[in-house]
């Protein structure tokens, strides 16, 4: 288990950095479908920001913000968003993952497609972020595995 290490510099710097890392992660996720980036990359950056939080403040202190319980929900939710968007397209009469058929109030099909891909990227981003943190926490808290469950 990672415990808190008293160092004012590390704490202050990470407190300043974390919001910026997260905003950058959101930027990467949002722009994935027409510039370099995407759900996976953005999700990893978002996950890294939380890992920094755990490293700087210890796993116990960060439990309030990110617990394994929440992460499990987030991981499956992200993947459900992905497969759910595909399923909605299927129910609206298109093929699976045919974004053009999504019931969105937009004027043209290319715009609907762009939104559809954005939805997929968000789902992937949430899933990847949750899994990255889960892997980190699982390795970091190996000895105390029993307590978390």
């Amino acid at each position: 288990m990672i415990v808190q290490y008293e160092n004012i510099i590390i704490k202050t710097i990470s407190r300043i950095l974390i919001p910026f890392i997260q905003i950058y992660a959101l930027y990467v996720i949002m722009h994935g479908h027409y510039s370099p980036g995407g759900g996976f990359q953005g999700g990893v950056i978002l996950g890294a920001s939380f890992i920094l939080l755990v490293l700087a403040f210890g796993a116990e202190a960060s439990q309030k913000r990110i617990s394994l319980k929440k992460l499990t929900v987030l991981a499956s939710l992200g993947l459900l968003i992905f497969s759910g968007i595909g399923l909605v397209a299927l129910l609206m009469g298109g093929n699976y993952l045919d974004y053009g058929k999504l019931p969105l109030p937009l004027e043209s099909i290319p715009k609907i497609r762009a939104m559809g891909i954005l939805g997929i990227e968000i789902g992937v981003g949430i899933g990847v972020m949750a899994i990255m943190i889960t892997i980190f926490l699982a390795i970091a808290s190996y000895e105390t595995e029993g307590k978390n469950d």
Binding site: T72, V73, L77, L80, G86, L87, N95, Y96
Partner: protein, 504 residues
């Protein structure tokens, strides 16, 4: 809705897996119900798909509406429809069995993650079968394998973790070799779609890259299907996995790898390449024949019932590969029927071993004395399953071996027929030993046997619960039904073989 069946069969179990995880921390978990419902739905869908394919030809489904070769295409033809029905059937029946067994073996706290992984494994396997895209196949291969590695590690014995780790390393090597092969084909042709590749490849058959890619595919998938020289991971992984996972690994996972190999051989590379350009016939003849004999021989030495069944799978994979080496229709029919036959029989045998472990905790064959009296229905199921594996007439095991022998004669390889017979004989020896101990050895030596078997010795019949007895019984009955009504699997397999060999 029916036109979406090829994707639904894959996406239902995968989404079920996410839903199970989502409900983890809530009061209403229903993990087993969701898994069983998902696999059952997939089974019904696959039956409908096979029916459609049989009546009106292959179904092609474009993911996202993108036309192949640019988009990913799912194809259900007479071969994939056939294998899909077999795999969905076995995974459904096994998940029925899982209700009681998993609680006992994995522990209450781990059932949710177990069933989430189980659904994922099932979805991955269905995906490998329906996909018409080489890279998509790799993705599903990894989905199913990763779920499989984790599930092997759930096994009760400590060594299960080591087995899982070995399986992880070797499975990853196999998948990597496969991926390198995909990369080479992509560089040479610029496409990943199987149908498109089979159009573009004949022009560059002689290219060294194409031949190397073929070798990588064959070796990579041979590791995945545990063909003889690459079988080292299988006995540990299949023998030490939880009772519910062993049947899936032995009956579905390695069969699906065999399916993928046949797909690559006949759909991507055409029979013209496999039988004329490269010496695949000779390699498969040697590999299959040696796997049959060595696999069966190694099985003889096993004292643990699950390990014995696991080793037997090594030999049975040899049959499937042997059928490919004859380069004729009959041999291929034998291979395809054997996929069906081995899947249902091996699954039922492993399930009986599972209910044995559930009831008594015994895995050593020598301690099974008098079990025939205690668990008559389970042991009867085991006996019929064993007879099927040996290849006694009236079971599906006989049809496939008969077709293989006919194929060998047709190809002029008469010397293979004694090898098939010898392997069947070895099968008879190692299954016969178990049958003898179970039915004919009673606990004459009072005290000694009693102490070992357990406390509930006084009761004469002490059968496992119905939900554990029925699943293997259903599979064994199917083996007999289709062993007598042999025309059903044979007609389907003949259609699949004609399609693979490109015959009208």
């Amino acid at each position: 809705m029916a036109e979406h069946f090829p994707i639904l069969v894959v996406i239902i179990p995968i989404m079920a897996s996410f839903i199970i995880l989502l409900l983890w921390r809530t009061k209403h978990r229903y993990e087993w119900h969701i898994t069983t419902a998902a696999t059952f739905l997939s089974f019904l869908i696959s039956l409908s798909l096979l029916n459609t394919v049989f009546l009106s030809g292959p179904i092609r489904y474009w993911l996202g509406g993108w036309e192949p070769p640019w988009g990913i295409e799912y194809v259900v033809d007479s071969f994939s429809g056939y294998v899909l029905v077999v795999v969905t059937l076995v995974s459904f029946v096994t998940s029925v069995f899982a209700a009681k067994s998993v609680k006992k073996e994995a522990g209450e706290g781990r059932t949710v993650s177990f069933f989430a992984l189980y659904s994922l494994l099932a979805g991955g396997l269905y995906g490998i079968i329906v996909t018409g895209d080489l890279f998509n196949l790799y993705v599903f291969l990894e989905i199913s394998s990763l779920a499989g590695y984790a599930l092997v590690g759930v096994g009760k014995k400590k060594r299960a973790i080591v087995a899982s780790y070995n399986y992880l390393i070797l499975g990853t090597i196999g998948a990597t070799l496969y991926l390198i092969g995909v990369g080479q084909l992509y560089i040479m042709t610029g496409t990943l779609n199987m149908a498109d590749l089979s159009q573009k490849l004949p022009a560059i058959f002689e290219s060294k890259v194409i031949i190397a890619a073929f070798a990588l595919f064959i070796v990579g998938l041979s590791i995945k299907m545990a063909l003889f020289p690459f079988h080292a991971w299988l006995p540990d992984a299949h023998g030490l996995a939880p009772s519910v996972i062993s049947p899936i690994l032995s009956a579905c996972v390695i069969e699906v790898a065999a399916y993928a190999m046949m797909r690559v051989m006949f759909t991507v590379y055409t029979p013209a390449f496999v039988f004329k350009v490269v010496p695949a016939k000779e390699v498969f003849l040697l590999g299959g024949g040696v796997a049959m004999l060595v696999g069966s021989y190694l099985t003889l030495a096993q004292t643990d019932i699950k390990r014995m069944l696991a080793y037997s799978s090594v030999g049975q994979m040899g049959y499937i590969i042997l059928g490919l080496s004859f380069a004729n229709h009959t041999g291929l029919v034998g291979s395809i029927v054997h996929i069906f036959s081995h899947a249902i029989l091996k699954a039922s045998l492993f399930l009986v071993a599972g209910s044995l472990i559930y009831k008594t905790g015994i895995t050593e064959i020598s301690r099974l004395k008098g079990m025939g009296k205690k668990m008559p229905l389970s042991m009867a199921t085991f006996t019929i399953g064993a007879l099927g594996m040996i290849g006694i007439p009236l079971t599906t095991g006989f049809i496939s071996e008969w077709k293989l022998a006919l194929g060998a004669l047709e190809a002029g390889k008469w010397f293979i027929v004694p090898v098939i017979l010898l392997s069947a004989l070895l099968n008879a020896v190692y299954f016969g030993r178990v049958i003898e101990i179970v039915w004919f050895k009673t606990d004459e030596e009072e005290g000694h046997g009693h102490k070992e078997i357990g406390k509930h010795e006084k009761t004469s019949i002490d059968e496992a619960p119905l939900s554990l007895v029925l699943p293997p019984f259903i599979l064994v009955s199917l083996s007999i039904i289709f062993g007598i009504g042999a025309f059903i699997p044979v007609t389907l397999a003949e259609k699949a073989a004609s399609m693979l060999l490109g015959m009208p």
